[in-house]
Subunit: 132 residues, 2 copies
Amino acid sequence: MRTRKTHQTELVMQAVHALDHPTASNVLDAVHELDPSVSRATVFRVLAEAAESGEVQRLVLAGSSDCFDITLCKHAHMVCSRCGAISDVDVPDTSALQRDAVGVKGGRIDACHVQFFGLCPECNRGEPHQNQ
Amino acid sequence: MRTRKTHQTELVMQAVHALDHPTASNVLDAVHELDPSVSRATVFRVLAEAAESGEVQRLVLAGSSDCFDITLCKHAHMVCSRCGAISDVDVPDTSALQRDAVGVKGGRIDACHVQFFGLCPECNRGEPHQNQ
DNA sequence: GCTATAATTAAGACATAGTCTTATTAAGGA
DNA sequence: TCCTTAATAAGACTATGTCTTAATTATAGC
């Protein structure tokens, strides 16, 4: 369990809050702008621990590397097909989906993961491509 | 475009058909049992080309490495939380989900990816753990 | 403020997935 | 059989993520 308050942890958590659905690498870049001496392993570890403790949410997405979300309540995400940006999406009902799903007989379905693909507001407006 | 019929391509395609939702590494292992001289790059390339041409379907899943599916019709998948096995799942209706989803204003939702987590028949029966 | 101790870190090795380059091999038409 | 060129083997390379280890440092107790 994290007990000591360190310079590095503060920088990482600040970055997660400042950025929108950042990957570990995004956080690393932001942290390095303030302090290039912080190691890659520390950023990955601090993020993993924060996700483990429930302080942030780790988003495991199809086709993207893991992102971190400070919004803890359950919601779905859209991945921009053009720039890769992650946007929040509210889905009214996914339980119906799970109920109606027909799996292999003998198997058991526990959870349902819904993810959308599309264009983020910027890319939809035809604005210059901005990769995360 | 693939024009020549080679030993390596035959082995790879045979393996994809023999295995159930294999990853590229699964295919590599199977191919290596018959011919250890086939290179890793060849297996990845042949699979990528087969997916590109529509001969097989590349499954890009959350939390798993890409798998290859010989079933071309659209369906969802369940990832076994215990052993990682992929099972096919039929979902009656996902268009409703996309219609009802509320994204960021200005953005556009184009596609919907549904993935389930649960236990495959073997793991649900409490049979010995078998990792892919 | 000083010291001891144990949590935290930096550095880099390691694992895995996937792509790319290049020299070599071999498929298949002439 | 010979040629052309598609396809391959080998391995470099990128990226994400984890793990190990020795060094650093936060903080509790004095």
